[in-house]
């Protein structure tokens, strides 16, 4: 192994790399709202007036405001990402790019990078703990963030790979997440960001009575479907209701004396507690949602960081979620065909994106949407969602505070539940219930200037984004 050249400041980047020539640049979002690498790198692109950039950040958070400056300077041609929220998303909802927005999934992004459909020129990878040979891990260092899952494909395929770190060690790292053989440069900086910024507001268990009720019904549904048995696998994400379901399942598991085989996806304190209590054998972690998850990754050998490809790439032979029994997911909107929107709000503004939503819904044996029927007077259920994030054929159950709807395509589930006491309703009946409280909303005008694509993990374009 050879030692990698070290760059000592962001300003030195253009001396080493022809940033004007390589237009497709990628970032990962593991530091979430605490990341400072993306803004600092893009500051150099602003200073150097680089034009026609194509950005490939795995997600865009509110703090990533340097993108906004580059947009206003007309330096960006296209943006490909899996999720975006905040000022950049607001701006892009109103201002078309010269190219377009492409929304991908976590698995779909890795798939396209690894099979060369996406060409990455430079990957800028924030890395908390790096050795002189370019090996890196995310769960040690000054600015830890845990799993480096979303950056692995970028490291393997980008023409130039730059690790940005605030902790360069002298000795060789064993068993790294990023393999140094892919790495070209190490950029040493004072700080890559603030670990506290990875904790998002949503990773709190709900105590809202509506959320508590939905979680309780979901737990009953899982039991009645016969899914709660020894060796089952489960993914919950970090939504407040989903975490409540996780807590409820924990009690049930202790009561029944069963254990789970694995939990996957984004990992929180709640999942770690169950690992340490011996209730689940393995955690497959593509992203740490809190500090407890990072600490666990460091000390628990059965808590493993995995790449986005191993997590959710349908072409990866080791794909974890193909063995997933149950996934709990959220929805901003759901429609008569069970299509789910978590990408835009009902007014067409971009507020999120799939992340792993459609990956896990596609692969899991049973996918369950948990959501209140009404949020700030907006009914959850629409005749047609504003934007399709996940196709209805992958969505099996909807649990709300006023009943459960099963996708008619899953007659097997409906049969299983027919003799239970669960409040089963059709999705249209649930919509009627909501309208009793909200009244029928007036249909909003349709927008027709296309500004982007929603790309499924299968590579199909399943919907478009429109300028507001």
């Amino acid at each position: 192994m050879t030692k990698k050249p070290i760059i000592f400041s962001y300003k030195q980047l253009p001396e080493e790399i022809d940033i004007h020539d390589f237009k497709n640049i990628s970032f990962h979002h593991h530091l979430r709202n605490g990341d400072t690498v993306l803004n600092n790198v893009l500051q150099i692109y602003e200073n150097e007036h680089v034009k026609k950039l194509n950005l490939f950040p795995s997600a865009i958070f509110p703090a990533y405001t340097k993108i906004l400056d580059l947009l206003k300077n007309n330096q960006i041609n296209g943006i490909t990402t899996n999720y975006m929220n905040g000022p950049v998303a607001d701006y892009l909802s109103h201002q078309p790019l010269p190219g377009k927005i492409t929304m991908q999934t976590h698995g779909g992004r890795a798939r396209r990078i690894l099979n060369n459909q996406t060409t990455l020129d430079i990957a800028y990878i924030a890395s908390p703990y790096v050795d002189p040979y370019g090996n890196a891990i995310g769960y040690k260092g000054k600015s830890v963030f845990g799993s480096m899952g979303y950056a692995i494909a970028d490291a393997q395929k980008a023409k130039i790979v730059v690790l940005i770190t605030d902790k360069l060690i002298d000795t060789k790292l064993e068993d790294p997440e990023i393999d140094g053989s892919y790495v070209d440069y190490i950029l040493q900086v004072d700080s890559i960001g603030d670990t506290q910024g990875i904790v998002s507001g949503t990773t709190q268990i709900t105590t809202n009575p509506i959320g508590v009720k939905i979680a309780k019904q979901t737990t009953s549904l899982i039991k009645e479907l016969g899914l709660l048995k020894n060796g089952f696998s489960f993914q919950s994400g970090a939504g407040g209701i989903s975490l409540r379901v996780t807590e409820n399942l924990k009690e049930e598991m202790v009561h029944l004396g069963i254990t789970a085989s694995f939990f996957s996806g984004g990992i929180t304190q709640y999942h770690v507690d169950m690992l340490e209590a011996g209730l689940v054998d393995k955690l497959y972690d593509v992203q740490c949602f809190d500090l407890a998850a990072i600490n666990s990754l460091r000390k628990n050998t059965n808590h493993m960081p995995i790449s986005a490809s191993v997590y959710a790439n349908p072409e990866d032979p080791n794909q974890v979620i193909k063995d997933l029994d149950i996934v709990i997911l959220g929805a901003t909107e759901i429609d008569y065909d069970f299509n789910v929107n978590v990408t835009t709000d009902s007014h067409g503004k971009i507020i999120g994106g799939s992340g792993g939503h459609s990956d896990t819904a596609s692969e899991s044996k049973v996918s369950i949407i948990v959501s209140p029927l009404i949020r700030s007077r907006i009914p959850l259920i629409k005749e047609r969602v504003t934007t399709i994030t996940t196709l209805g054929k992958h969505i099996d159950c909807l649990v709300t505070e006023r009943g459960i709807a099963i996708n008619p395509k899953r007659q097997d589930l409906i049969d299983k539940l027919s003799k239970t006491n669960l409040p089963l309703k059709t999705i249209k009946q649930l919509q009627e219930e909501a309208f009793k409280y909200t009244k029928q909303p007036k249909k909003l005008k349709k927008y027709d200037t296309m500004i982007g694509d929603i790309q499924d993990r299968t590579n199909k374009i399943i919907d478009h984004l429109y300028k507001k």
């Binding site: 007014h347 907006i378 009244k439 909303p441 909003l444």
Partner: protein, 85 residues
């Protein structure tokens, strides 16, 4: 003197009333596109039910349901009448 009731929080609304030469309703709502007409209807019906015709009403709504809007307005009306006494 104006009076108000409610809060500018999700699923609630803040309603302010002040005496005026005629009836005026100013509606700010996150769901105005979908429910603006319905909100106006509830406000006007509630005011009419209390025989109020000379008032300027401002509502800042964050998705309150009809019965919340009505309750907030009735409280504001009572506060206005308490002030008059």
């Amino acid at each position: 003197m104006n009076v108000s009731a409610g809060s500018y929080e999700s699923n609630d609304c803040l309603i302010t009333l002040e005496p005026a030469a005629e009836l005026e309703c100013i509606i700010h709502s996150v769901v105005k596109e979908q429910f603006g007409e319905q909100i106006e209807l509830v406000l006007k019906q509630t005011l009419a039910g209390h025989n109020i015709t000379h008032v300027k009403l401002v509502i800042n709504d964050k998705g309150a349901l009809d019965y919340t809007i009505k309750a907030r307005l009735e409280t504001a009306i009572r506060r206005m009448r308490d002030l008059d006494e």
